[in-house]
């Protein structure tokens, strides 16, 4: 195990070597420059201290690690080697779209005009940045068939919350205050009911039908004058396109509710179909998934929220506008739900996604989705004879297998996932969606080659065979990682939140 950088700390060790400061840090007292105080510290340090009121000063020095430069470099290089990212291997984490993030995105984000800009600059001095926001809004509108986007939400679930707040503001503005319920299918992302609760709604679950879509009968029974809206992913978390989407939209709209599109699975549909055309009123996209910006381990992400015309006044403020000559940020939006994030969202992430969309163009984005769907179907067909496939239909960008019936060996999906680590693969999403027993949710994305997918399929098949012949080996996996099975139960029941004293 690697040590923490705090454990490597030795008093007095530094990664820099500087001469004593020869100018006063306080210009009112030039005399003290270069002198040493009675306690051995530089007098200028005392001067600096004196500028801070007594009650705000530290009583003890901050406990920062004291290490040499080479220690710092080795420490973080070692940590990075212990990590798994899409830059060092296949990462088929279903519902997360771990596609390769082109490095040209980084070059664009590192341009000085973007890198050195300050969010407090006046509009007229930040025209390029506001132009990016304005054009990004227009491009996302075209991709989704919506009328206007706010780029503020910091990630997907944040976009959901903003979208639901907009739905609430819309109903309230019309005096339609009895709409307290959001309908969520049982296959939905866990964030959907959570966001609904955060926005002050009650989440109502509807079952899926035998084809994996929303059960129309259950939906009809669930809607009513208290329905604020329905949250849906399409394709859904089973990787299946809900063919009844038009009918679903009609049922919800007839009841006076609005339709919310969770864009987590948008990688399947770009250039092919659009949530706006399916009847959705509010959409969020995950720029970090669909539009290739680094995520996993905390992002940062970006979850723009887009709406149809009637909901536009309620979008977060400000929005980027263009009068034909000048770009500006419009803060005068009285019906807006307000800000949902400081400044203008995660601008660096928006910029990378902008670079990606401009690189691909409309035809390129369509090819992205076509290849994502093709890859998923290829892998599904390679694996379907070796695992259970509960919904045997043409899938979209991902598919869900089940490893449910192995009582005799005691091997479960978790064991299969852990064994994959030994072969350098990030495991798929497991135990989700909840409606599939012992689920494995696989999303290869469009950026993987036939060879990579074949190697993954061969490995997964050989693990399934090994599970029958040598179950102990699979149960005790992983064998080649820095740590093997962690005691998750103990960690959850008795979390240790402090490392030292």
């Amino acid at each position: 195990m690697a040590k923490l950088i705090f454990e490597m700390s030795r008093p007095g060790r530094t990664a820099y070597s500087l001469p004593p400061c020869d100018t006063a840090t306080d210009l009112r007292d030039r005399k003290t420059a270069g002198q040493t105080g009675s306690d051995g510290k530089g007098a200028q340090e005392d001067v600096a201290c004196s500028l801070i009121p007594e009650r705000f000063r530290r009583k003890k020095d901050a406990e920062l690690p004291e290490v040499s430069e080479v220690d710092v470099i080795r420490h973080f290089t070692e940590l990075s080697r212990m990590n798994h990212g899409v830059d060092n291997g296949f990462y088929p984490l279903g519902s997360c779209t771990m596609k390769y993030n082109p490095k040209v995105n980084e070059d664009i984000a590192a341009l000085e005009g973007f890198r050195a800009v300050h969010p407090y600059q006046a509009d007229e001095t930040a025209q390029g940045c506001i132009q990016i926001l304005y054009e990004m809004d227009r491009m996302l509108k075209e991709i989704t068939g919506m009328d206007r986007f706010s780029l503020q939400p910091a990630a997907g679930a944040h976009g959901e919350l903003a979208g639901l707040m907009i739905i609430k503001a819309y109903h309230d503005y019309r005096g339609d205050t009895g709409r307290t319920k959001i309908i969520v299918p049982d296959s939905a992302h866990g964030t959907n009911p959570a966001s609904a609760a955060m926005a002050g709604f009650e989440a109502i679950e509807v079952k899926s039908d035998e084809r994996g879509g929303v059960d129309l009968k259950a939906l009809k029974a669930a809607v009513g004058p208290d329905t604020a809206g329905l949250m849906l992913t399409n394709p859904n978390t089973l990787g299946l396109f809900d063919e009844n989407i038009k009918e679903i939209a009609r049922i919800v709209h007839d009841a006076g509710g609005l339709l919310y599109y969770d864009g987590a699975n948008a990688n399947a549909i770009m250039g092919i179909c659009r949530p706006g055309d399916m009847g959705f009123d509010v959409v969020h996209l995950n720029l970090h998934k669909t539009f290739s910006t680094p995520h996993g381990g905390g992002g940062p992400g970006s979850g723009p929220v887009g709406v149809k015309k009637a909901l536009e006044p309620f979008l977060p403020t400000p929005l980027a506008e263009f009068d034909g000559k000048q770009y500006r940020l419009d803060h005068d939006r009285p019906l807006s739900i307000g800000r949902v994030r400081s400044f203008y969202g995660n601008f660096g992430v928006i910029l990378r996604a902008y670079a990606y969309i401009r690189t691909m163009g409309p035809d390129g984005l369509r090819k992205v989705s076509e290849n994502a769907v093709l890859n998923a179907n290829y892998l599904m067909h390679r694996l379907k004879d070796h695992f259970d496939l509960p919904y045997d239909r043409t899938c979209m960008h991902e598919f869900v297998l089940s490893y449910g019936k192995h009582k005799e060996t005691g091997i479960r999906t978790l064991d299969i996932a852990k064994r994959l680590l030994d072969f350098g693969f990030h495991p798929p999403t497991v135990y989700f969606p909840l409606i599939v027993n012992e689920a494995l949710m696989i999303e290869p994305t469009e950026t993987e080659s036939l060879e990579t997918m074949d190697l993954f399929a061969d490995t997964l098949i050989s693990i399934a065979e090994e599970a029958e012949k040598d179950p102990e080996k699979v149960k005790s996996a992983p064998h080649r990682t820095y740590v093997s099975r962690l005691d998750e139960v103990k960690a959850a029941r008795n979390p240790v939140l402090v490392h030292m004293d």
Binding site: Y431, V489, A492
Partner: protein, 127 residues
Amino acid sequence: MGILEGVKFTKEHEWAREEGGKVYIGISDYAQNALGDIVYVELPAAGKKVKAGDAISVVESVKTASDIYSPVSGTVIEVNDALEDSPELLNEDPYENYIAVIDPENLSELDKLMDEKEYREFCSEEE
């Protein structure tokens, strides 16, 4: 199976047992087994009014978090505080360790639930 005499079950794998006009509720052995190691139980507040089918508690395991639905309408009059520090009690003995006690509005709601035999059949179909 003396211990399960008079115990009723829901399709969501809760159990309910009437004792002195009050209804004790918890989760079934099948449920605790499917959830795996339980690490947290969110208990309802005593005095809370519930309708049959309302979520009254959340049981969290390493694998997932599940809502627990009240099998009957009424008022929560007691909760099992021991679960706060020892959620594993639900794994160790799910029928001995209840989650909450409800003062029911209408005891006949229990008649709509499954008895042990029906529940066993229901579980084997779920497999």
